[in-house]
């Protein structure tokens, strides 16, 4: 770190936050120019010579289906016959790191059967019949690990690269780097669960110290899916038009006293964008025009899948319209199966399996899957032993994640855990490696995607400390 770097950072901070404002303000106008600028900002080579190259992206967009609580890998994605063999017996294979030590029980076999799926023959649990149908389209990583068995800490790690609260989340990093291709919708949209916030709440999509424009914008359901989207009750469109015209008059007069002030210009333009959002947001959320067959695909005709299916479908509609990053959440942390593990998993799979697979299928047939990464993951996994009589406790040493599209291999299983599904032992992928690889798929070098904070450049992976590295085997 140096003065020079800091000075550069300061200069760039001004420039970049200008870009940020610009990005949020000026409609589709000069989009190409904007993107050109942003690419040079994020993906430039080290010397910024004209024509400098950056990697060609495999993917442009991301949909993250986040599964709060820690889905049980050995019941869903990672079959372990040894669990059956030792079911009910003391764990035979050494020490386990246990969260709730006083409730630790014996080995707990999975009650679910696994069978090969697709051409690739990937073994998947019987509770994931729809995921089995897309087996040939996904990369299944069975060798994930993370750093904490604490929900919040692990959530922060997988969302922002550190176990501490308040850092920019990866959706913010991606939108910071790539901006958006639709200026009438936010670049980073969060489709929350109508049941309530997930654990760690709004921090899951915080921009941390990146400018606020890169923060996830939650879309709710109902009349005002974005807060303050619609004019107050009883105001007429004509009255609103007059208001905007008068406001513009005031702001133009003000701007004329400060020529060249980009912040003031952006503020002016933002009022127009805000007005356009009043139509663009309801439009994207209105699925009434979707064909019956599509609704059926996402399970909108079934009670169990309707709500999650609707959000998966909206995710596709957002991506289609140029939104860069969409993330779905579940209320609280339903995959946290400390008790009644098997029963809870059945219910959760009944809700999420079909819509998740439908999203991949639908993107694929529309030709969007090549450009879009779909990621299905929780923050950690679960233990091979029981907690109480029928639950499973947290496990940071091994869990499973799947990815589809966006340059990830298809029909591919990566890595393995030990015989009991406890610890990732082959081709281990850390959360940092996953971040580095996701950024690489988006054409971004995780070493270089940085932002100054607290007197130094910060990045999602902080590779020098975390040792994050791209896992090329995951990419086709």
């Amino acid at each position: 770190m140096s003065h020079e770097l800091n000075r550069q950072i300061t200069t760039e901070l001004t420039r970049r936050s200008f870009l940020g404002r610009y990005a949020g303000s000026l409609g589709g106008l000069a989009l190409a120019h904007l993107l050109a600028n942003q690419q040079s900002a994020s993906a430039a080579t080290t010397d910024l010579q004209p024509g400098a190259t950056h990697f060609t992206p495999k993917a442009k967009n991301v949909i993250c289906l986040f599964q709060h609580g820690g889905p049980s890998q050995m019941d869903l994605f990672d079959p372990k016959p040894m669990l059956e063999k030792f079911h009910g017996k003391p764990y035979p294979s050494g020490e386990l790191e246990i969260h709730f030590t006083n409730q630790a029980g014996n080995v707990l076999g999975s009650p679910f059967k696994f069978a090969p799926a697709g051409q690739c023959g990937m073994q998947l649990s019987e509770v994931l019949p729809y995921t089995a149908r897309i087996a040939d389209d996904i990369t299944l990583i069975r060798s994930m690990n993370t750093e904490s068995v604490d929900h919040e800490a692990a959530l922060r790690l997988i969302h922002s690269g550190k176990i501490f609260a308040g850092l920019p989340t990866w959706g913010s990093w991606v939108t910071y780097a790539l901006g958006s291709e639709n200026q009438n919708l936010p670049a980073y949209v969060v489709l929350g669960d109508p049941g309530g916030l997930p654990i760690d709440g709004t921090r899951n999509w915080s921009a941390g110290w990146l400018p606020a424009i890169f923060q996830g914008t939650p879309f709710g359901s109902g009349k005002s899916p974005v807060v303050n989207l619609q004019p107050p009750e009883g105001s007429s469109p004509a009255a609103r038009r007059n208001q905007l015209a008068f406001l513009e008059q005031l702001n133009r007069a003000h701007l004329s006293r400060h020529p060249g002030n980009s912040e003031l210009a952006a503020r002016l333009a933002n009022f127009e964008t805000a007005a356009r959002m009043q139509t663009s947001v309801p439009e994207v959320l209105d699925i009434s025009g979707e064909p019956a067959e599509t609704k059926e695909l996402y399970g909108l005709n079934e009670d169990a899948t309707r709500e999650y299916g609707t959000r998966c479908l909206i995710a596709r509609r957002l991506i289609e319209r140029g939104v860069r990053f969409v993330q779905l959440f579940l209320s609280s942390q339903p995959w946290d199966t400390h008790s009644k593990n098997a029963e809870s998993l059945k219910g959760l799979c009944a809700k999420t399996d079909r819509p998740s697979a439908a999203l991949v299928e639908d993107l694929k047939r529309r030709g969007l899957l090549d450009d879009t990464i779909v990621m299905w993951t929780g923050e950690f996994g679960r233990l091979p032993i029981s907690q109480g009589s029928d639950g499973r406790d947290h496990n940071r040493r091994g869990f499973s994640t799947w990815l589809a599209g966006g340059g990830f291999k298809r029909g591919y299983v990566h890595g393995a855990t030990d015989d009991f599904g406890y610890e990732a032992v082959e081709k281990v992928v850390t959360v940092h490696d996953l971040h580095a690889t996701l950024l690489a798929a988006l054409g971004l070098d995780h070493h270089r995607l940085a932002y100054p904070h607290d007197g130094r450049p910060t990045s999602l992976t902080d590779a020098e400390v975390t040792g994050a590295k791209v896992v090329p085997e995951l990419l086709a």
Binding site: M1, E4, R7, G24, T46, T202, V227, N242, R448, R456
Partner: protein, 1034 residues
């Protein structure tokens, strides 16, 4: 001191921060050591030749270190590149080993050396700071006055104006009075000037009218609220613990907030302010239990500074390892806040290894940590809500207690009245069973059994022993029934021998069981987890197919309410939710009443002291049936009961039942409303202070932690001054506090060291503080990286100005208000913000301050100014926060109906996970560690909020009403008034016409709407509040 113009006027470099890029060197002049050469070597060489790692004894990160050379001798021989080791290695492509320098980078180095290595000190330095500019003692700089004498108002001009002149620039003309008062009012108080304040200033003809205006704002109580908030951000203040999802409450943190506001209003000397926050407890020597003075109370409140960081230890679950990590995390964030807020240093890197870019070793970190460790002893931990001391003024506690007792009495009286009415009006019924467990009465086994009626197996194993000391047992003793569990797992029951029909036949008929709960524990035993009892118990071991009954009720001594389970035990049992809300505790009567209602259903009411207790449950009659009544015995559940009575109604009367229910709930609501009102009269217990103090006067052993991991303790460390700031002139002495406080004296020693005026630590601290003040007044710090004045921080744009201000700060006795006067009374501050094409071309970013920079109001000022302009601002000061909550849309808003909704933003609950949405939109941070610099973003969501939020709409209505109120019926006068309130000035004729035009158009648009005129004014006011002229200060 450097004489060349600031680097920012060199050829503009197109830089991207993600990439480490060096200037394209088209510099004709000689490269500058600080701005050109050092950045290059730091970037390329310092990883191996820096403060962290000095290979070959060579450290290239400051001029003095560069001059020191390495083991092989001098690195640079001025004027002789070929004899300079640095150049030799570079020229031979030996260094840097991985990526040789590019041609233009080499040329820069060579040119500089050839030119005689200007700026390189003749002597190196042996000081561990490498004599980095910010780490050396203060020296008041001498500088000639600027040439434009008529623009000189004070010494600031010697640095700012003179620097402008060197670059062929000068100040813009002085801003007009309307602009100046709005600027000063927002800068000092965060609020717009009132029409009265504007008039007073406009009409003041004295020569020092401006200075007097500044002084008026400095002495306003609103000043401390504004500047206190900046400090609170730097100090990481929040009203919640953060860390975990729970983000639990810090109900007493507000006392620290109020302490800070008072300190700023009183212009408490900054050195004293720092000492109090670091070691107020050590100065106070307060002994809990004694009445004390407000001074001592302030000292205790001040120590909350140390505990502002996130602290999840009140919620830690999981294993010991995780708990220890959580504790260290609280300690580390304390250190982070101290280092950032006072010294502008980032230390966290040194937790795991020597800092690579700062002269800060891992040992430094842990020596420093050992200063705070006695208060945060991870082996003798106190959770946040346990770190409370009570300190009151004489008589304060007594007055409060008397008031509380008064309210308690009133509440008790209301409750008694309700209870008496309810009891009086309960249906009577006939007694089916009664057992008073009277002393000398019949043996328990006469009426009770360890089997369920009709069952030949004991209900649970081992079976209960009746009237026995051998547990599990039930004993009639002292006129009560003792239920004594044995610790054996599993459920068992003692049931009546008698069978009752728990399904009344006629609609409106009922049956009930009640008992007195004498105690929820036995002797010194644990509080029973649950008070369990059974209805319709007949097949306890659940051996008969399809049987139901066996209804288990579990009253909760903690939390309250009753768990309801059907067909218990057995695998087919069903959890059927909860009944009631009352907490189970000794001295009350509990039970259930089953009332037959329509459609073959039964309603279960929980009875608390004989009265139905809110939440009831409705069951199919099949769930009940005939059977005994019994008490359950299970793990950890021993308790004492008495007076079991079972009654049933004589007849069924559904109408009477409904009427009684309705009347009961009406009276209960009335009661609750009255109690709520009385509770509103309560005052918080006085004197409770969330403070910080050492756990003991004996210092615990503190270890350096290898790689920052608590499981790898290294050598033990003792407190010591930071090596980089070590100074023989700074007092460093750890002694038992003179106050007699039971502490180690370590924090007090460190506090005195850091404030010792003539030494290096205080010099750095003064630079950091004045730099931040400058940032708030001028839009950017003299050092742009306000959070980092270390070796890796930015170079100051006006180094001598910073030195001057820091020295002046210390010289003034650390008076912050004095520094406001120095800055605000300068011509640099008083100039207009207007555009100038020529100056803009030379210095587009205005780093040289040729004009005042237009700035958006920060988040708090946006909200406060809206309230003030609408005439709605509640100016009451201090006290517990105004609560915020999330509404149906997930927006964080001020809780509806809370007292003080229109108070200043400072007083709203600063919950880390719940930043008020309006404030968050305008870049108010959700505090992670602390914040000394906020970004300013401009996003469409701000526009949506300004156009559509209920808050803006409501305040616009108030604003419109205020205009009508203050300016009367004449629209022209209202428009004048609106400009004065929103923009602090009169409208220009064209503006006036535009406003009239808009109002006419809107009235027309609303047409026949009888509120058309009112709506038009509301729209008008809202557009003013949404406009740049309102949101920006010029």
């Amino acid at each position: 001191m450097r004489r060349s113009p600031p680097n920012l006027l060199r050829p503009l470099l197109l830089l991207a921060m993600h990439v480490i890029v060096l200037p394209t060197l088209v510099v004709a002049e000689t490269p500058d050591l600080v701005h050109d050469v050092l950045p290059l070597v730091r970037l390329k060489c310092v990883k191996c030749h820096g403060p962290g790692k000095s290979e070959g004894g060579l450290n290239l990160s400051t001029p003095a270190w560069l001059a020191n050379g390495g083991d092989s001798g001098a690195a640079v021989q001025g004027g002789k590149p070929n004899e300079s080791l640095l150049w030799q290695r570079v020229a031979a492509d030996e260094m840097p080993p991985d990526a040789p320098l590019k041609a233009e980078e080499r040329e820069l180095l060579a040119t500089w050396i050839k030119a005689g290595a200007p700026g390189l000190p003749a002597e190196g330095s042996a000081h561990p700071s490498g004599d980095h500019w910010a780490f050396v003692p203060l020296k008041a700089p001498q500088a000639p006055q600027a040439q434009a004498a008529h623009r000189v108002r004070n010494d600031v001009e010697r640095f700012v104006l003179a620097e402008l002149e060197r670059n062929g620039l000068g100040y813009r003309p002085e801003a007009d009075r309307a602009t100046l008062i709005r600027r000063v009012a927002f800068d000092l108080t965060g609020l717009p000037p009132t029409p009265e304040q504007i008039a007073a200033y406009q009409n003041d003809t004295s020569a020092d009218a401006y200075e007097r205006m500044v002084d008026r704002y400095l002495s306003s109580p609103r000043y401390g609220e504004r500047w206190g908030k900046y400090w609170l951000d730097a100090a990481g203040y929040a009203d919640s613990n953060g860390y975990f999802n729970a983000d639990s409450d810090r109900p007493l943190a507000y006392r620290y907030r109020d302490y800070v506001v008072r300190a700023f209003n009183a212009d408490k000397p900054f050195d004293r302010f720092v000492i109090e926050q670091l070691a107020g407890d050590e100065l106070a020597g307060f002994k809990p239990g004694e009445a004390t003075t407000s001074e001592v109370i302030s000292l205790l409140e001040a120590t909350h500074y140390l505990r502002n960081g996130q602290d999840g230890t009140g919620e830690s679950d999981g294993n010991d390892n995780e708990r220890t990590i959580d504790r260290y995390s609280a300690l580390d964030s304390c250190l982070q806040i101290v280092s950032s807020s006072l010294l502008g240093l980032t230390v966290q890197c040194a937790k795991c290894h020597d800092h690579k870019f700062e002269p800060l070793s891992q040992r430094d970190y842990y020596q420093w940590q050992s200063v705070f460790y006695p208060a945060f002893n991870v082996k003798d931990w106190k959770k946040p809500n346990e770190r409370v001391v009570q300190a009151t003024l004489p008589g304060e506690l007594e007055t409060w207690k008397a008031h509380e007792a008064e309210v308690d009495d009133k509440v008790a009286k209301l409750r008694e009245e309700f209870a008496a009415w309810a009891k009086e009006n309960q249906p009577r019924g006939a007694v089916l069973f009664r057992d008073e467990f009277a002393a000398g009465g019949p043996p328990l086994a006469d009426a009770w059994s360890h089997t369920a009626p009709g069952d030949d197996q004991p209900a649970g194993q081992p079976a209960i022993n009746l009237d026995s000391e051998t547990r599990p047992a039930t004993i009639a003793r002292d006129g009560n029934l003792f239920v004594l569990e044995s610790g054996d797992p599993g459920d068992r029951v003692m049931s009546t021998r008698q069978t009752f029909n728990w399904t009344p036949q006629a609609e409106g008929a009922w049956i009930q069981v009640t008992f007195d709960l004498v105690d929820v524990k036995v002797g010194d035993g644990k509080v029973s987890e649950r008070i369990a009892y059974f209805l319709a118990v007949r097949d306890y071991n659940d051996t008969r197919e399809g049987e139901t009954g066996n209804v288990l009720l579990e009253g909760k001594p903690e939390g309250g309410g009753v768990g309801l389970y059907l067909d218990y035990p057995g695998n087919d049992h069903k959890d059927d939710g909860t009944l009631g809300e009352a907490v189970y505790r000794g001295g009350h009567n509990y039970g259930v009443r089953i009332t037959r209602v329509a459609d073959g259903k039964c309603r279960l009411d929980h009875l608390y002291d004989g009265v139905p207790d809110r939440k009831s449950a409705v069951l199919d009659q099949a769930a009940l049936g005939s059977g005994g009544f019994g008490f359950g015995l299970c793990c950890g559940r021993s308790f004492i009961v008495d007076n079991v009575v079972i009654r049933e109604s004589e007849t069924g009367d559904l109408a009477a039942d409904a009427q009684l229910q309705a009347e009961t709930s009406r009276r209960r609501e009335e009661l609750e409303a009255s109690i709520k009102q009385l509770d509103g009269e309560r005052k918080p217990e006085p004197g409770r202070i969330a403070w910080m103090t050492d756990r003991s006067a004996n210092a615990p052993e503190v270890h350096l932690l290898e790689r920052g991991s608590h499981s790898s303790p290294g050598e033990t460390v003792e407190p010591a001054p930071l090596a980089a700031l070590s100074d023989p002139n700074a007092e460093w002495q750890i002694a038992k506090p003179e106050s007699g406080a039971e502490t180690t004296g370590r924090r007090l020693a460190w506090a005195r060291w850091v404030t010792d005026a003539d030494a290096r630590p205080a010099a750095l601290m003064a630079r950091v503080q004045v730099n931040r003040m400058w940032q708030q007044h001028f839009g950017a710090g003299i050092v742009a990286t306000c959070e980092n004045l270390g070796v890796s921080g930015a170079a100051p744009s006006h180094p001598e100005l910073l030195e001057y201000l820091a020295a002046e700060f210390v010289r003034s006795g650390w008076s912050i208000k004095h520094m406001h006067r120095v800055m605000l009374n300068s011509a640099a501050y008083r100039q207009a913000s207007t555009y100038d094409a020529g100056a803009s071309k030379i210095d587009p970013d205005n780093r040289l301050l040729w004009r005042w920079t237009v700035r958006r109001l920060d988040a708090e000022a946006v909200r406060d100014a809206i309230l003030a302009t609408a005439g709605q601002l509640d100016e009451s000061m201090g006290g517990p926060y105004v609560p915020t909550s999330r509404d149906g849309l997930g927006e964080a808003v001020v809780t509806e109906g809370a007292a003080g909704t229109n108070r200043r933003s400072l007083y709203l609950q600063q919950r880390r996970t719940q930043t008020l949405s309006l404030l968050g939109l305008f870049d108010s941070p959700s505090l992670v560690v602390n914040c000394v610099q906020r970004p300013i973003s401009t996003i469409p969501l701000q526009s949506l909020s300004l156009l559509n939020s209920p808050f803006l709409r409501e305040q616009s209505r108030h604003f419109a009403a205020r205009l009508a109120n203050e300016a009367g019926e004449d629209p022209a006068k209202r428009i004048d008034r609106s400009y004065l309130l929103a923009y602090g000035r009169e409208p220009l004729p064209a503006e006036h016409a535009a406003a009239s035009g808009f109002l006419d158009t809107q009235r027309e648009t609303y047409g026949d709407d009888e509120k058309g005129d009112q709506l038009a004014w509301t729209d008008y006011c809202q557009m003013l509040l949404a406009s740049s002229g309102f949101l920006y200060v010029e």
